[in-house]
Subunit: 529 residues, 2 copies
Amino acid sequence: MTWNRFKTHYYSNPKLGLSLDISRIPFPDGFLESMEPKLQQAYAAMDALEQGAFANPDENRMVGHYWLRAPQLAPTKELADAVSSTLAKIHDFTAKVHKGEISGSAGKFRELLVIGIGGSALGPQFVSQALGRLKSGRDKMHVSFFDNTDPDGMDFVLKEIGPRLKQTLVLVISKSGGTAETRNGMLAAQAAFRSAGLDYAKHFVAVTGAGSKLDQVAVKEGWLERFPMWDWVGGRTSELCAVGLLPAALQGIKIDQMLAGAAAVDVVTRKHSLRDNPAALMALMWYWATDGRGAKDMVVLPYKDRLLLFSRYLQQLVMESLGKELDLAGNVVNQGIAVYGNKGSTDQHACVQQLREGVNNFFVTFVEVLQDRTAGPAPEVEPGVTSGDYLQGFLLGTRDALSEKNRHSITITLSEVSPRSVGMLIALYERVVGLYASLVGINAYHQPGVEAGKKAAGTVITLKKQIDAALSAGGGAAFTAETLAARIGDPGKTELVFKVLEHLAANPGSHVTKVARKPWHESTYTWQT
Amino acid sequence: MTWNRFKTHYYSNPKLGLSLDISRIPFPDGFLESMEPKLQQAYAAMDALEQGAFANPDENRMVGHYWLRAPQLAPTKELADAVSSTLAKIHDFTAKVHKGEISGSAGKFRELLVIGIGGSALGPQFVSQALGRLKSGRDKMHVSFFDNTDPDGMDFVLKEIGPRLKQTLVLVISKSGGTAETRNGMLAAQAAFRSAGLDYAKHFVAVTGAGSKLDQVAVKEGWLERFPMWDWVGGRTSELCAVGLLPAALQGIKIDQMLAGAAAVDVVTRKHSLRDNPAALMALMWYWATDGRGAKDMVVLPYKDRLLLFSRYLQQLVMESLGKELDLAGNVVNQGIAVYGNKGSTDQHACVQQLREGVNNFFVTFVEVLQDRTAGPAPEVEPGVTSGDYLQGFLLGTRDALSEKNRHSITITLSEVSPRSVGMLIALYERVVGLYASLVGINAYHQPGVEAGKKAAGTVITLKKQIDAALSAGGGAAFTAETLAARIGDPGKTELVFKVLEHLAANPGSHVTKVARKPWHESTYTWQT
């Protein structure tokens, strides 16, 4: 790379402590200018969005995550007040919990169990890991998560909490209250409290939409507190509403600084001038690198342990926003950008062999953090060289090793990992995703494909009940998957019937026993009372 | 999918508790047969490998990870004895640690800190998470990792260990002893012991090649114990030598069962008959799905929390093995398969929108686990339906939702997560990678591209020293990146000089202060004594 190209294409914002290097995406002269008309449309769409337009027409709702850090920009006073009063409530609740004025069955709450999935887990997990134990050795509360419907996974977390359950505050996070994984996690947690002789209502807090099923349960059972979720904040952009702020504040993270960082980036990324807008620059790089059609994957490599979960968070933000079958005009486009990566230099020992030599089907986003350590200088490992120098050396070295082989990258540089810079990263990517979606003409704010899997899962649960009924009606009779599917009257579902039977037979309590036969599809299943 | 296709292409091995469904990769009739000649070559190459051929000619060494679980198959008695005696030594050492016969500065060791990177961390991390707290609530020892050269990341782990450092056993794992990240981690850990007034040699164990730098240090300083690494076991296939077995055994994991599971899968995957060899079936599916050239990514979705780190482990095993510029004949092929994924159903809320609707540039590997829970039946969340039924429902539903849209998948089914099944998974993928590499004509057992990044990192460290020297020689003079690069006599490296200066200026103790100017490249840097 020549210094001249770097100089031309380096965005530096010392006030924010944020820089962006796009010089290693080899777009030709004239590319940026050629995108200007599309970019102006994207700015206009974004402006309309921020002013309260229904950017999400198929769901008939506004998209307002930018108001969360600048309530004065919300289109109505009601919305602005909702944001401000919720933030005040989070602060108030958190202070009382930390002081022990709100407490559990055994005094102060010291443990926090967050139950949520998708946007209600990925952001909170990322932030908890990035900003935990930042200055001191301890957080205000120790945080764990139920983020799935795996019974063994929940056992694992409950075993870790152990006798501290009586000092555990539980947040149940679900906008509709109908997300099965979250509902199942809530039931498992309630059962654990009951087994321990504890009144769970005195430990539970709901973060949910007003009037949702979950909200109703929380009211009826007298839970400790309720915090709102709004239909104008999508799950994948909910980190800076109560979903993300409440657990972060309880852990002891300075959420006002997160909000301030996000707001500061919003100010910059609202600009209609490309060279001053890092989000617009990034959106154009995504466009060039992936040919505006996801032709390459985005490998995200933060060289910082605290940012390990950033790419996992981005998988949802980017892939769910951009992975769309149809464009806004209804044409089949199959858009999207695949995101993966963990952290450097660790990943150098896993992926870099392929990245440098193998299929050239990706571009890398390096995330560099200048400050090595909050606790003073990094230790020397050789005279005049610290472990932090090595970390930077590996980043810069790998970047060069990839550039040599025509593998492209962008580099984001942050001054440090802090609540402010994490808020900045979140806001930056939210904006890039929005602008990029405009560039390629898709709706970034719905997720029509997610429903299909849920519906199909519902079909399996229904089938499971039919299987139970048919087996138990059969008494001790032995069925193969084929004969049972026929009995149910749905031979087209024989494969699913087989899969469900195999699962039932492997689990005690299902009443189903299997006799293995050869060939395997002659195996029989019987109801055992 | 029709039941007939499923029946035809389902591999079921009830003895192993392992099944494989390839029916959702829509290869046409005749494909499997057409691959038979290539497959026979792959079997032959694998047989030669197992018999001690130099499958790694450019490094002039054997590739013997299969002997780790079947020492009787090693080509010499020396090798067989080395495997057996090391295993015996691991058992002996572990038993003494658990009993307190080998102890630290404050009695029994209760904490285990593993220092390693790449193959010396990814396998141990995967296994530790998959098999920790399997039956009881506690492991024999609590395990943490240094897997990077991030000074803040090491602080984070040390803060977590806190006063328990005096009860901490440290494993330093590095074949050559020259891996910078591991060396730096070792130094940080030694410094922490020193600060706590502890004699670190009484807490440290080396896992390394005989006579390596690390080995020499361990001998000289009188470390607690040393375990061998061998040149015939590559980093990414080292989970079942001391690298993986020692930390697993110390954590309390039944390593003999891991080895038995791997050995049992090896027996099956050595077969030269496609229908009886799940590894060969998988290798052909990779070939068909990716067109034998990595045209699609491999998304790995285990529906089980314990298997969260499996895809991260596979990233190294698959991408480092297959991501190659040259084939065995020296042609440029740029091979590889990108691997990503976390776990289901969690990932459904992140990636599935794109997987179903977006860019069709992947195939999925679902990993299903039949047993929901070791602690008895999974709890009911509705009458007759458990949280485990939901987990399976989401897997099967998502699979169908993807199939509907012509997104392809294979499904591996395991009876349960156990030491045995984890050993099976490791052996299965090791074999698939080996066979697939033969099919596409590459060497799976070297990693020539990894060196480039390390060398380039060395360049940066050298440059950093030159910068220090030039700045300090300049006394209080203020340099821009451009003037300093010229001073060093390397204006071609101005960008690197700039990056290093920015890093130095952000860290106390570097003696470098920055005065920010506009434009940013006029900023100056001064040595401060």
